[in-house]
């Protein structure tokens, strides 16, 4: 109780998470996102061509055409915008991750609430030399932090750093 004789000052003087400088993720991730979107676009175009060529259903074909023309340019533009919003930061006692252009989400996970940390790489990641760092908590999927597009080396170093913090906290 004695800590809180003047709470407005006390609360205001605490470290502010919104003042933290975020580090960006690797540019290679943009290439990966573009590639994935491009593959999806190819699939959609192939489906459209098949529909069109065999004259299957005019309504469906035109809806799909409109969808492709509207959705994909938006998606490519959005991918570009989102790339810049990815950012993570380590503080002494927690890790922060932000993402999203239209809705910018910042998730803060205190180290003493981390359950475990893992690194995953898919085929594209291997080719682009990047990794995804996953930080799991007990709070369900919304509570977990998944940082994509970290250079392999950085992901490993982060994981090691977190592991040190975890064992330090566990005791």
């Amino acid at each position: 109780m004695e800590n809180f004789t003047n709470n407005s000052i006390e609360i205001g003087s605490l470290p502010q998470f919104e003042e933290v400088d975020f580090q960006p993720i690797s540019e290679s991730y943009l290439i990966k996102s573009y590639l994935l979107k491009f593959l999806l676009l190819c699939a959609a175009v192939i489906v459209w061509v098949v529909l069109f060529y065999y004259d299957i259903n005019l309504v469906l074909t035109s809806i799909l055409a409109v969808f492709i023309v509207l959705y994909f340019p938006f998606k490519f533009w959005n991918t570009f915008k989102v790339q810049d919003t990815y950012g993570f930061a380590l503080r002494e006692k927690d890790i922060l991750f932000k993402r999203g252009y239209f809705i910018c989400t910042t998730t803060v996970v205190p180290f003493n609430r981390i359950q475990h940390v893992s690194i995953s790489r898919d085929v594209l990641d291997k080719y682009l030399k990047i990794s995804t760092l996953k930080i799991f908590t007990a709070g369900g999927s919304g509570s977990d932090i998944i940082i994509p597009g970290l250079t392999t080396d950085l992901a490993l170093r982060l994981k090691e750093a977190l592991a040190v913090k975890l064992t330090a906290n566990g005791l």
Partner: protein
């Protein structure tokens, strides 16, 4: 030490390939048996049979390759230096999972019939958290499994503090502090005063299926039914018939709700012992739960005006407890009076004193947003009506107007009910138009916090906040950024509190 045994990354038992292969095939067959059966029974000929066999052979080969790769890539070992259990796995994407010993909640061995035949075991390591975070080694030889279990249990126990066994404590505190029982009358009251929406939905669903059955079975009779229906609508009569039907439906949904309440909560008894609250209830499935304060992650107190008048409150508790998967879900305790709720509160949460209490309400823009979302069905129904020609335009307008008015009133009341209250150790959220809910979290039990800012909130300085707990999320929308110092205070609370969250 023993742990040297598993110091080097190693594979599963060789026979594991067969096990993985068979389980793969089995799951694939389970997914596709309907298609197989369809082809066999409807288009049976020599050629389809040959194609099918070829297909099966191909799938088998693919599954075999998959199994071998899976087996080759699956490696596990104990990292004695970092005090971790490490698993590497994956066919298409490789994954490396490391579980520090102190995060391990439970380790156990299990085997299916197939595994018993092959003389291997499954080895499962559970950590607290959502389902995906358990590690399972599918095929490990019997002795290896036992050795690994021994090592991990030893390491795990090194970390966990000496928590008294639940059986142990039960002996020491046989004498209950207080007991709350629910009488027959109270159950009846609960049944009548809970909303019948569920019962109503059940009945509507029931009649819809019956109607569906009849209309498909007797298409030829439908003409006579139609003419019969056409004869009825003299306006007065149709209204009275409608009222009678409505009354019957209402009565039935009340009956169903009451019956449900009786089956679920019969003989409900809440007893406080020294370290825990004991809950017993139910006919069909007899529930017996022990509520320990530190396992409680999220508490909800729900009442509606009628129930409040009858002094009835429902408490819902989310527990985190990996020892028993069932207990991870919410526990509902209905029919508690105000004083019992207060007693529960003071038992489950100790430090209730607070030097500050700050209340936040959402910005008015939230009403606009919710109204837009709620009115989308109106627009959608307009298109359906004009295209499908089900209703006349006039009736559509009337229905849409009624819906809109109700929605607007509802949303305004809902907006007014929303409040987020922060105190030194607790976070409360209040909401609800008819069913008024109060959610309560102990700040140090929060797992993480997400702060969301949509682009269109930036100018208005608004944010959405989601508090993640092991018992579910609590979110609050369109709140002013002036809450941020308190969010920082919460981080301070979580990070400086040494208590374990479960």
């Amino acid at each position: 030490m023993d742990s040297n045994l598993f110091a080097v990354p190693q594979r599963q038992s060789k026979i594991g390939i067969l096990l993985i292969f068979l389980t793969r095939i089995f799951t694939l067959l389970k997914g596709f048996w309907a298609i197989l059966a369809y082809f066999l029974f409807t288009k049976f000929s020599m050629s389809t049979l040959i194609y099918m066999l070829l297909g099966l052979a191909l799938i088998s080969i693919l599954a075999l390759i998959y199994s071998v790769v899976y087996y080759k890539n699956f490696l596990f070992h104990i990292d004695a230096l970092k005090q971790e259990f490490v698993v590497e796995k994956g066919v298409f994407t490789k994954e490396k999972i490391a579980i520090p010993f102190d995060r391990i909640q439970q380790v156990y061995i299990k085997h299916s019939i197939l595994q018993r035949i092959l003389n291997v075991d499954s080895f499962v390591i559970e950590t607290a958290g959502s389902k995906g975070e358990e590690i399972k080694i599918q095929a490990i030889s019997n002795e290896d499994a036992n050795r690994l279990l021994e090592i991990l249990l030893k390491e795990k126990n090194n970390y966990s503090e000496n928590i008294p066994d639940s059986e142990f404590t039960e002996k020491t505190d046989k004498v209950p502090y207080w007991t709350h029982k629910i009488s027959f009358i109270t159950l009846l009251k609960i049944g009548i005063s809970t909303n019948y929406l569920r019962g109503l939905v059940l009945i509507v669903g029931f009649f819809a299926t019956i109607y569906n059955e009849i209309s498909t079975l007797s298409v030829e009779h439908s003409e006579t039914i139609k003419t019969y229906l056409d004869e009825i609508p003299a306006p007065m009569e149709s209204i009275s018939i409608f009222l009678i039907i409505a009354f019957i439906v209402l009565l039935m949904s009340i009956l169903i709700t009451v019956a449900e309440v009786f089956i679920k909560y019969f003989n409900l008894q809440l007893t406080q012992k020294k370290d825990s609250l004991q809950l017993e209830m139910g006919i069909k499935t007899h529930t017996k739960v022990s509520l320990q304060p530190r396992r409680v992650q999220l508490l909800q107190i729900i009442t509606n005006p009628v129930q409040k008048w009858l002094n009835l409150y429902q408490v819902r508790i989310s527990l985190a407890n990996t020892e028993d998967k069932l207990q991870k879900s919410k526990i509902k305790i209905p029919g508690l009076d105000e004083s019992t709720v207060a007693k529960m509160n003071s038992f489950l949460f100790t430090d209730q004193l607070s030097n500050f209490k700050e209340s936040f309400s959402p910005n008015k823009i939230l009403v606009v947003r919710n109204l837009i979302i709620a009115l989308i069905p109106v627009l959608a129904s307009y298109f359906i009506v004009t295209f499908m020609d089900i209703l006349t335009f006039k009736t559509w307008v009337i229905l849409a107007m009624i819906y809109t008015v109700i929605v607007i009133i509802w949303q305004i009341f809902f907006f007014k009910s929303l409040a987020l209250i922060l105190s030194e150790d607790f976070l409360f959220k209040k909401y609800g138009v008819w069913n008024k809910t109060e959610e309560r979290i102990e700040i140090y039990k929060i797992q993480s916090i997400s702060i969301l800012q949509p682009l269109w909130y930036k100018k208005k300085n608004l944010i959405n906040i989601v508090f993640h707990t092991a018992g579910g999320d609590v979110s609050f929308s369109a709140v002013n950024k002036s809450i941020l110092p308190y969010v920082n205070y919460m981080f301070y609370k979580i990070e400086s509190d040494a208590r374990s969250w479960m």
